[in-house]
């Protein structure tokens, strides 16, 4: 039972192997016979030609042979079939029997066996076939060699290889293009720098002569053509030369003072460089617009205000900042209402830039800071409050006090800082209220401010606030202000509170060495 099972399993295995190893091949009797005819021998396979009488026995005694059945073993099927055919031709009933490992098998088994043998190459090819192969090789040698796959087409037939080569090619191309681009840019820059250096040298001598040899009146009376000829008529048509000349004039203007500034402005205007700077404002490039604004700002070209005003609401931050800065500098009235209408928030950097312009203005009394305080833009209002503080606008303290109730937290903080800077004693009641504000930052600022502008009532309120809070910074500010207002009350409150950290704050406040720590 077990043996049979193993046989079936083996057969099944062979069948599976026959179908999977090299794919399905036809295993019929004709194919098998044709295969056997083609091969010299197959391993472990033998054929026996057998006949019932001796007629088939060649060259033997006829009588004796009649009694002995004929049987001959072959390993080559063709030979076996030849003998069988010759016996049949002689009228003998001959047949071929098949043996695998000397066990006789039926033809069906042989078909299966041959199928396995073919798949595993367990046979010796017929010598005739070898001869044929040799003939084919000899014939092939007479034909010129031509590869089956052309190299090009082979590469392109492999999609992965094509992709990798394309990516590498792209990288190589980009690298070379970048290298070429850098080389071109560097070469252009080098050339440009050399030209600028040459132009600077051309500008230096006539500018020096004009500034030191000619009076302001002499320069003013000069015509465009006369002044142009002092520099270079030939180069004056070139944009780079004009820009270099403008930069040189602005550079001297920044470094020199006195009547030299007036002379430089006159040269700038007579040479119609102001028109070029104004024309730059119309450019679509922000850097050109910016340079135009800066040139007009530096050379004090106040008649360009109208053109500059168009750029104060530019989408570009640099253009917008420079335009506002130039307008603040150039406008005589110092009406800040244009700034109040700004939609964009003012950054701290912009606030600093605008303040630097305004602080140097001699007629800052005419500045309309109120318009900034009434702006719909919170950052502008904050800037306005800062201006009140920095420019010492005492008359606007009341305005700040009025806007306090509706102000945002940053504005409230700025207002309190301004009250402290301007020592606004009149606003002490307002500060008393903010001392009890739930926002600790505002409360702490108010506490500090009361130290400077507070009164007796303030000291009581500070004590009251101290018992309410548990924020260290606020406690420190309250105690500091209380110490400044009423030292006796300060000591009494510290004792009443009887807390370790309050004693530490007290020691810190009273230690003169730690005053600024």
């Amino acid at each position: 039972m077990y043996r049979n099972y193993c046989k079936y399993l083996l057969c099944f295995f062979f069948v599976i192997l026959a179908f999977t190893a090299k794919g399905f091949q036809s295993n019929d009797s004709i194919t098998t016979v044709n295969f056997l005819k083609k091969v010299d021998r197959v391993e472990s396979l033998s054929f026996k030609v057998s006949a019932p009488n001796s007629a088939a026995h060649r060259g033997g005694n006829a009588e004796a042979e009649n009694q002995t059945p004929f049987e001959q073993t072959f390993y080559n099927y063709s030979s076996a079939e030849l003998v069988k055919d010759s016996l049949i031709n002689k009228g003998v009933d001959a047949s071929i029997r098949f043996f695998i490992f000397d066990d006789e098998k039926n033809f069906k088994s042989i078909i299966e066996y041959i199928s396995i043998v073919r798949q595993n190459d367990l046979y010796i090819p017929n010598s005739a076939a070898t001869d044929n192969n040799e003939n084919i090789i000899i014939a092939a040698n007479r034909v010129a060699f031509e590869p089956f796959y052309d190299l090009k087409s082979r590469i392109f037939s492999d999609i992965k290889l094509v992709l990798i080569l394309s990516i590498l090619g792209l990288f190589l191309f980009t690298f070379l293009a970048m290298l070429f681009f850098i080389f071109i840019v560097r070469s252009k820059n080098r050339k440009r720098k050399a030209i600028i250096k040459e132009y600077k040298a051309i500008c230096q001598a006539p500018l020096s002569e004009l500034l030191f040899e000619n009076t302001y009146e002499e320069i003013s009376s000069m015509e465009y053509e006369t002044l142009k000829s002092r520099f270079s008529n030939e180069h004056f048509e070139k944009e780079l030369f004009i820009n270099t000349l403008i930069k040189e004039i602005i550079n001297i203007n920044k470094n020199l003072k006195g009547d030299f500034k007036d002379k430089l402005k006159e040269i700038y205007v007579i040479l119609r460089l102001d028109d070029l700077s104004i024309a730059k404002l119309e450019s679509k490039k922000w850097e050109v617009q910016s340079s135009g604004i800066v040139e007009l700002y530096e050379m004090n070209i106040d008649y360009a205000i109208g053109k500059i005003q168009n750029l104060i609401s530019s989408k570009n931050f640099i253009v917008r900042t420079n335009a506002v800065r130039a307008l603040l500098h150039l406008s005589k009235q110092k009406d800040l209402s244009f700034l109040a209408n700004q939609e964009y928030p003012l950054s701290r950097w912009q606030q600093m830039a605008f303040y630097r312009v305004l602080k140097n203005e001699s007629n800052n009394q005419s500045m309309n800071i109120t318009s900034l305080l009434e702006s719909h833009n919170s950052s502008i209002r904050v800037f306005g409050i800062k201006l009140v503080r920095l420019l010492g606008k005492m008359e606007l303290i009341e305005t700040l006090s009025k806007m306090f109730s509706v102000a945002s937290l940053p504005e409230k903080c700025e207002i309190l800082i301004t009250f402290k800077a301007l020592t606004a004693f009149g606003e002490v009641d307002l500060v008393h209220k903010t001392l009890f504000d739930p926002n600790y930052k505002l409360s702490a600022l108010s506490a500090t401010l009361l130290g400077h502008i507070g009164n007796e009532k303030s000291a009581d309120l500070l004590v009251q606030r101290l018992f309410e809070v548990d924020d260290f910074q606020l406690e420190k500010n309250v105690l500091t202000s209380l110490y400044m207002l009423d030292e006796e009350k300060f000591e009494r409150t510290v004792k009443e509170m009887n807390k370790e950290h309050i004693f530490q704050i007290r020691n810190h406040i009273k230690d003169s060495l730690l005053t600024y720590v």
Binding site: K200, Q204, A205, L207, S208, E209, L211, F212, E248, N251, I252, K254, N255, L256, K257, G258, F260
Partner: protein
């Protein structure tokens, strides 16, 4: 005719000062950076030195220090922007510079200060 050494990295300012001082009849030696300035000081003793604080390769302070060690009696004028570090300007004064001209400056005023120091 006095020999004046001017150390300034801004070529245009350098040329302006040269033009103005030459007009006064002085011989002017120019240096565009600290190294050139020190080299010029090594080559010859000037009657007066005008130097900027911020110059390439060697700072104005180093130049002043070198000039003071080599020529203790040579007057030095510092020509610099007021915006520069106050401590640096103070350091220059402590090293014994004769005068300080803040930028922006008036070349005529500089020429007067030069005349005063040289005479």
């Amino acid at each position: 005719m006095k020999d004046i050494l001017v150390i300034e990295d801004d070529q245009l300012i350098l040329k302006m000062v040269e033009f103005r001082l030459k007009k006064e009849g002085h011989k002017v030696t120019l240096a565009e950076d600290g190294n050139e300035g020190v080299k010029a000081l090594n080559d010859h003793k000037p009657d007066l030195i005008i130097t900027d604080i911020m110059v390439p390769f060697k700072s104005g302070i180093e130049i002043i220090e070198f000039a003071r060690s080599k020529y203790p009696n040579c007057p030095i004028i510092v020509l610099s922007a007021l915006g520069e570090e106050e401590s640096t300007v103070m350091e220059a004064f402590n090293m014994g510079v004769s005068d300080f001209v803040p930028k922006p400056f008036n070349p005529n005023e500089l020429a007067i200060r030069v005349k005063r120091l040289i005479n």
